[in-house]
Symmetry: C2
Subunit: 125 residues, 2 copies
Amino acid sequence: MTITEVSKKYDITQDTLRYYERIGLIPAVNRTKGGMRNYTEESCGWIELAKCMRSAGIPIEALIEYCALTQQGDGTITARKELLVEERTKLVEKMEDMKKTLDKLNYKIDIYEKAEVTGVLSWKK
Amino acid sequence: MTITEVSKKYDITQDTLRYYERIGLIPAVNRTKGGMRNYTEESCGWIELAKCMRSAGIPIEALIEYCALTQQGDGTITARKELLVEERTKLVEKMEDMKKTLDKLNYKIDIYEKAEVTGVLSWKK
DNA sequence: GTTTGACTTAGAGTTCACTCCAGATGCTAA
DNA sequence: TTAGCATCTGGAGTGAACTCTAAGTCAAAC
């Protein structure tokens, strides 16, 4: 697959695809004789993973390390697991923060909706 | 309350507290004769809100607008509600992305844990 | 009264994660 | 074979959200 195709498939700009590869967030992509990128199924798997992880805010640094460990072979399985466990912990914390914020937003929206009818803002605390 | 006290209470640096006030993310804080900040209960309420919203990634721009609308009085109730509804929508989407990522992390961690015992990585897809 | 440490401001610097640009090279269609 | 578009690289630029610095002011302790 060409970079244009991959870019469309995953809705990631070509610049970002090249950037991810340059910084080692995904392994080096295959090239044609001319030097053009030729994405394999495996490359696409990495891109999908990168997209998923980044959409949840997993830091690039962690993903670079994960990618490096993976390329070092089976000796790094425990290290990879530990890295992912650490990121999972942070993710769960973030989700908890967001849940609290969601509750607060729901509460405020509710009060504003009532005020639209009654004309009175009645905050509890 | 002094800036040091507020900083400790909410675990936000003094620099960030001043920054939030300067950009209008919270309303102007009371001052002593000498020009030092003297935070009231109300100021603290705003800081708590700012901390909560920011911890969930609600953009500063939106919070500045919310703060400005609030200071314009009851005529902005609908606008404020709409702003919060919009941010809630984005927040829910982000939480869904994070849930997907969490599932993926759990899956991968599980495979790595099994591999630590069996020595074999067995990915489904 | 003076020293010491907290606080003030304006503005510059930092970090993260892209995003854009320039100039060169590759590929395809007429 | 040549026009024209895609892709390449290295490096500079951007935007968001802080974070730090410098130079000065305030306030409590001695």
